[in-house]
């Protein structure tokens, strides 16, 4: 019950985490698109600048060839800003003018015009450059490049921002998920606690406070309505059994009183009285069964009872009867075992079982009652070596009015309510009944919940 709750909470948490992850992933995708766009635009801008540079240099070259280029590069190099790279070499590779001390390694000149294409990207001094390397007619290598550092810096900043944002999204999603899971589980937990209390028998348990106007409030209202109905039914069962008792016993009582006025036919009167007693026993059993079933799980009316004492008392009540019938009775009852129970009901149950055994067993059969302390429960076993249950009856032995054909044939009296009452009383006490397979005879195990000391 309450131990399972973290798993249930995990389900809600998982769902919210999934949602958070999906939202974060979508946001990251959008940001990645934007990143790509920024990268393209900035590279485009760098190319445009480079194209403009080349255009200027081309115009100078048109006028006075290498001389003009050299002057312009020297002039531009003096005002170096780090953002551009210009280099003009002579035929032998000596620097005529430029911002660099030498030709960057790994870069080869290609083409001889002042067009932007083909452009090359290369790395020098730790930054990326976009540049064109040309060999001007006459064997003068020329390098014109623009630094891509601003682009890279911007992109790096963008990446850092995206990473931080992604992390923040995940954290926020997780946090919101956790909060949502906690609040949902809190609300569901209230309903679960209520269900636990009702299952434990407290039919009048209700949630305190007003209902909220959401689906949880609606759920609570529905649960309350169901509980009200169950409680009413239960109360009706109790009232009905009292009314049946009254309405049926009063006329039977008149009958009994009138019988006593009949004189001279004592045998008939005794028979009729026995019949009346028998009818009362049948409907008492039925009422006891339905009452015990209705009260099942409710702790009401149960008090600490010494199971050992009750078993011993009932055993002593029946032992002489068993002996007189030629049975071999033997009881082994561990002392001091306590349960939460109704002494009379327990006595009635054990009495029913022993009475049954005596009824069905013949001379020489063994009858054994054992009560011992088990691992988590008190174990009671009633075993005899009589005819046992017919195989076809095992499944329905505890149903009302189940009687074996052979009993009718043998003329054994009974109304088929004994075991049904046994089961109902066991259920009322939270005890488990089991019919273990036996080689011979009838064996019944009852595992009683221990009374917490």
């Amino acid at each position: 019950m309450s131990g399972d709750r973290p798993w249930a909470a995990r389900a809600t948490l998982r769902l919210t985490l999934l949602l958070a992850a999906a939202v974060a992933a979508l946001s990251l995708l959008a940001m990645a698109l934007q990143y790509r766009l920024v990268e393209d635009r900035m590279t485009e801008a760098a190319r445009a600048t480079l194209t403009a540079d080349l255009g200027g240099l081309a115009a100078l070259y048109e006028q006075r060839r290498i001389i003009a280029l050299r002057q312009a590069i020297e002039y531009r190099g003096a005002a170096r800003n780090g953002g551009e790279m210009l280099l003009l070499l002579d035929r032998r590779g000596n620097v005529l003018a430029g911002t660099e001390a030498g030709w960057p390694p790994g870069l080869t000149a290609s083409g001889s015009g002042f067009t932007i294409d083909p452009a090359a990207e290369f790395t020098s001094g730790g930054t990326r450059w976009l540049g064109v390397a040309r060999e001007l007619p006459g064997g003068f290598p020329l390098l014109v490049a623009r630094s891509l550092a601003p682009v890279d810096d911007t992109l790096a900043a963008l990446r850092r921002g995206m990473a931080a944002l992604g992390l923040a999204l995940l954290l926020a999603g997780g946090g919101v998920g956790w909060l949502a899971a906690r609040s949902v589980m809190g609300r569901i937990g209230r309903v679960n606690d209520l269900a636990d209390r009702v299952a434990a028998g407290d039919l009048s348990a209700r949630l305190p406070g007003p209902r909220s106007h959401d689906e949880f409030g609606l759920l609570e209202t529905h649960v309350h309505a169901m509980l009200d109905r169950i409680e009413n039914l239960n109360r009706a069962t109790h009232r009905l059994s009292d009314n049946i008792a009254h309405e049926l016993r009063t006329p039977l009582n008149r009958l009994m009183q009138k019988l006593s006025r009949i004189e001279g036919q004592e045998e008939v009167v005794d028979d009729l009285r026995a019949e009346i007693r028998q009818s009362i026993r049948v409907f008492d059993s039925l009422l006891d069964i339905s009452r015990a079933e209705a009260d099942q799980g409710t702790g009401g009316g149960l008090v600490p009872v010494s199971l050992s004492d009750v078993a011993q008392e009932v055993w002593e009540l029946y032992e002489p009867l068993a002996e007189d019938k030629g049975l071999l009775p033997h009881a082994s009852i561990a002392p001091g075992l306590q349960v939460l129970g109704d002494r009379n009901l327990i006595a009635q149950m054990i009495s029913n079982l022993i009475d049954n055994a005596i009824k069905y067993c013949g001379p020489g059969d063994a009858l054994r009652l054992t009560l011992s302390e088990g691992e988590g429960r008190h174990l009671m076993q009633l075993a005899d070596t009589g005819p046992g249950l017919p195989a076809d009856l095992r499944a329905e032995a505890f149903e009302r009015f189940t009687r074996a054909e052979r009993d009718r044939d043998r003329g054994i009296k009974g109304h088929g309510l004994g075991l049904a009452l046994v089961r109902a009383i066991a259920a009322r006490h939270g005890a488990k009944i089991d019919l273990p397979a036996a080689e011979k005879g009838f064996v019944l195990d009852i595992a009683w919940p221990k009374l917490a000391p």
Partner: protein, 229 residues
């Protein structure tokens, strides 16, 4: 003459109770509703026993017992009700009833119960350690039984049985009374388990020479050791 108050709404039943009351030599006073009954019990003079129904016009007799006691009545209360299941009987006894008989009842049973209650009113004090009936002696503290000075070995239950008989000596004691008082069981086991126990005790006493217990046909048993001698 002793007066017995009957609070019962069914006139036929009330008449049957009244018959038993008269048979015991007492005067019946009948009221059909709870309020009248309580008023009679508290203001209508002294009653020895009150026979009280439960499902009455005006309420539950068991719930009214406190009012009857509070009104100063010292009468013993016998609840006679259709609410006769074990739990209801125990509830009635726990709430102060002196005896509880479920309906339908047999007249002999009611008579035995009333007689036991009337007796209890007179010889309540049995502080004497020794109960002697001619040759038969019961020592309460030592829990021993002797017949003609010979010890008769009885089991603890048999001792309780003979003590209960002795306290109601000369009166009919029913099986139901024995089951309730000696075994403290408030349901009808169907089988006459009690007979076997009484039979054993009876044989032991007879072997020792005391014809103390006799069967009252259709009613129960009578412990009458003096008559036997």
């Amino acid at each position: 003459m002793d007066r017995i108050l009957i609070v019962e709404d069914d006139s036929e039943t009330a008449e049957a109770i009244a018959r038993e009351v008269r048979a015991l030599g007492c005067t019946p006073v009948w009221h059909a509703t709870l309020d009248e009954g309580v008023a009679a019990a508290t203001e209508g003079g002294e009653f020895r026993v009150i026979v009280l129904d439960r499902m009455l016009p005006g309420g539950d007799g068991v719930e009214a017992m406190a009012r009857i006691r509070a009104g100063g009545s010292r009468a013993l209360i016998l609840v006679l009700s259709a609410l006769g299941r074990a739990a209801q009987r125990v509830e009635g006894l726990e709430k102060g009833a002196d005896d509880y008989l479920p309906k339908p009842f047999e007249p002999e049973e009611l008579r035995a119960r009333l007689r036991a209650l009337l007796r209890r009113g007179t010889i309540e004090v049995l502080d004497n350690d020794l109960l002697a009936f001619g040759d038969l002696e019961i020592r309460l503290k030592a829990r021993t039984v002797h017949v003609r000075r010979n010890h008769v070995a009885v089991s603890p239950k048999e001792f309780e049985l003979i003590t209960f008989f002795a306290r109601n000596a000369g009166q009919v004691v029913t099986r139901m009374q024995l089951l309730e008082n000696v075994w403290n069981l408030h349901f009808d086991p169907g089988t006459n388990v009690v007979d076997v126990h009484v039979g054993r005790l009876r044989r032991k006493l007879e072997e020792a020479g005391a014809q103390a217990i006799q069967t009252a046909r259709g009613e129960g048993y009578i412990f009458a050791p003096l008559r036997a001698n």
